[in-house]
Symmetry: C2
Subunit: 304 residues, 2 copies
Amino acid sequence: MVTPESVDKQAITEFFTGLQDRICQALEAADGARFHEDLYERAEGGGGRTRVLQNGNVIEKGGVLFSAVYGPASESVRKQMNAEGPVEFYATGVSIVLHPRNPLVPIIHMNVRYFELSTGDCWFGGGIDMSPHYIDADDARWFHRQLKTVCDRHHPDYYPKYKAWADDYFYIPHRSETRGIGGIFFDYLRPSDTRKKEDLFAFVQEVGNAFAPIYTHFMEKNNPLAYGEREKQWQFLRRGRYVEFNLVWDRGTKFGLESNGRTESILMSMPPQANWTYDFRPEPGSREEQTLNQLRKGINWADL
Amino acid sequence: MVTPESVDKQAITEFFTGLQDRICQALEAADGARFHEDLYERAEGGGGRTRVLQNGNVIEKGGVLFSAVYGPASESVRKQMNAEGPVEFYATGVSIVLHPRNPLVPIIHMNVRYFELSTGDCWFGGGIDMSPHYIDADDARWFHRQLKTVCDRHHPDYYPKYKAWADDYFYIPHRSETRGIGGIFFDYLRPSDTRKKEDLFAFVQEVGNAFAPIYTHFMEKNNPLAYGEREKQWQFLRRGRYVEFNLVWDRGTKFGLESNGRTESILMSMPPQANWTYDFRPEPGSREEQTLNQLRKGINWADL
């Protein structure tokens, strides 16, 4: 039971470390392979626990990262928050990207995070989104309905708002494509009179807890599906788009690389193999073309 | 013979289209495969001629691009140039990236460009740099001496200055590595009392003309060298670094993708296949480790 006074950064951090543990256990049980763990310390304060699984039975390469870092807030954070004078920040969260071996199993991404300033300002952020190499409408509907159920338990506005935010965020302007079928994305969820800190934390907890059942569902259901060389080649091209989004447009990756974060942890999101073919165009009417045509914002997957 | 009055944008553009032709011919002769050509028009003015060679005998994937684009200068260009009111720009150049099949043949990049504003301001830029998957000191010395010879014919300061500029430009901060062994890089070469426009153009022409003999030398000398699976795997990881540099740090790529350039032309620089392995560390004393140790700024390759 979460009580107002217990929702401090320590309680949130403890929830995140436990979440990382539980997710890794669930993924290991579904995959059969084990995560490798690296602990690291950040010179300026704090550190992280990076867990990576490579060459698993279902997961070809994936990472489940926990970090809790703190120290003096950067110039840009202080400006953004209109804070004058020295400000300390504390940031903690869990980030996940999983690249499956089978092209019929989708790539997934999850992040839950909490940020606090010594000025008293604090907020939550996060989300879950999925990038199938081949879009299957039933899978997409099921995925979005899971997220909608989680959201609806907290506020009827959450799902439509955070679904639209994911469409906007996970977009690749130079390709005019969404990264995948989206999901939910939210940021700057600050306590207020109508949304207490414990309520926001309860929502973020439920998003985090929803991850393992959602993804192990796809691991178990889709990994047995047969595929061939054609599907692998398409997967490599789609992973190329994933690389393009993460390196060119993703604010988290950009911020991490430019602010001297631990590169190997940040870039755990890179796929094991990605290919680029000049001006590749799928055959008209093919499943590859159908997928491309559905990489658009505003598709109401939950009701499709 | 270049005379002052003949160095206008038309003459420069014509040189660049001819350069693209001659380089493609030389590469086709050395490879045996043919370039595929795509012409495109830019909605705002101008266009380009993209030539791509895929699955060649020596070149696995590479592009030789010509473009000449014009129109109203963007807000940021006007600010940078302290220009008030509407300004028109004209930009033309040739860009090349070649990814060879054999890991013992280096990746190469070349760019020569000319920029002109309706304010009368104009400048040249460009350079050649090489990214060997395995650094060979003899190859690196030969490569840098070729560039030094070209530079020295124009000004004794050019090579040291533009060599250092390449070291700084082709650097991957989040890896603390240079992209390769560098080469030369120069920008904003503006006509002045001591450096006439025809002299600058003559220098840029010689840089452009130096490309084909330099790279076909490595195609012919290194392509016959034997390699195995280990070298291929290392090549895929090094190409991953190439992707990271181009998508995260390269100003030209960034500018192109953010300003609605033709994506397939800009991203012709992407390798056919790149791999990422979490926290890969080469064996102590291996050729892979030796290469990593030499991906540093300030190595005087020409005199080594």
